[in-house]
Amino acid sequence: MVSRWMYISLVILYGFLLGPFIIIFMASFGANATMAFPPQGFTLDWFANVFETSQFIDSFWISLQLALLSTIVSLIMGMPVAYALVRFRFAGSGIVETVFSAPILVPGLVIGFAMLNFFVLLGDMHVMTGLFIGHTAILFPYSVRVISASLRNLDPYVEDAAVSLGANRLRGFMLVVLPNMQAGIAAAFVLGFITSFNNVPVSLFLSGPGVTTLPVSMLSYLEYYFDPTIAALSTLLVIFTVVLVQAAERVLGLSQFV
């Protein structure tokens, strides 16, 4: 049914989606300090520069901690919600569902702005606490949706079987449900981690003096410098993402959850 010329559309699609990444990759090895294309010469200096720029190193650790912490908390708190939504029918389930999908409908920049104003109102809040709260809130939709999807694929009666064999509800869940949701939890984790690690709009307002996430510090670096250091850092991040996404797709089928 697919004719040969339709494959041209695939070439265009992938050229457009992936071409820019190849350009960054090439630019990060170019010797000239201004961003001319094609790059002249070959150097690894820009990669060295990435690791010598404390602004990047510091914000990398902050982003990493933030992503791990907010992903794990959103999973731990989101999993019971997913379980309640999938296994029970109750009054107000529609409201619960709406509330937990809302953070995806509201523009990230608006969320960051609204949170900043609200936190100011609350008084003196640590910058990291604010970032953690903001990231956890925007990750709930992913956790709840992905885990709900993997719960739906599991026969609800396996829990009853566990209970009939003598387990209590909690043990039944731990021993029978949880092991069968590993792939869903892992997918939600990868998705949540990437979403938090890459987030700019929410972090932009919530970052403070000395506490900045990596993407935000990249953005402010770009305001002052236009050299291949950013290209080198981008290359590193893209490679990291490709490896993570490929592994997750191979093992978990990530793209079905996006």
Partner: protein, 277 residues
Amino acid sequence: MIRRPNQTRTIILLVAPAFIFVLVFFVLPLVFLLSQSVLPEDGGFTLTGYLDFFQSRVSRIVYLRTLKLGLIVTGICVVLGYPASFVLARMPARRRSFLMSLVILPLMTNAVARTFAWLIILGRRGLINQTLLSLDLVENPVRFIFTETAIVLGLAQLFLPLMVLPLVSAMENIPDDVLEAARSLGANRLTTFLRIVVPLSSDGLVLGATLVFTGSVTAFVTPAILGGSRLLLMSTLLRQKAVILFDQHAAAVVAVVMILTTLAVNLLLRVLRVQQS
């Protein structure tokens, strides 16, 4: 659905922690934002913030530009995404899975990194200008950065995956038999595509278009880097009002207009879906 005794208590225990978290740290800030937009610090309830927004030439231009670019990006994503999604949907599962993981790459990478590539491509001494100059098509470099073209390209690359994913999943559900039935009844490939594939994937198209459009009108990093303060969109306008002009009241108005715009589009989607079924 399983019904058990003490169900209500169980449900409350399961839902309450996260629900309270989202209520306090997400819903409440939005309510406060809404109140900020109608309650300036020095006075009572007023809608002047909104009147000012729509009466100001600058913000009107920014708002209409944002909507216009959103529509153009959506159109480009449909044109680029539709035939390619069909090819992807008809592939053997293994190859499709690999290609789909490449499709989502732009969504999964750092927005600054991804947008930086467009600076290299579109810059004064970038790929396109060097090509144009070496072919003697232009005498001086053309300015692409800080133009609508640049923003549209950056946004289209970012949001194309959000068009392709729902389209592919809609088209996967069309059985081969149905396409072959159309062919055996005399339809050529193009007719089969237009008469069978397009109507049967319209759900995916509507969903994809909504995601691309709402994403485009609210995206921040792409317009911030490729449009800067010279070519503002709603998101960059919001940041300008809040961070540079320190006008929280006006910024709140911009934020609420952005929310209402995305809500309106999502509502439209729902209406379209209801009409279809």
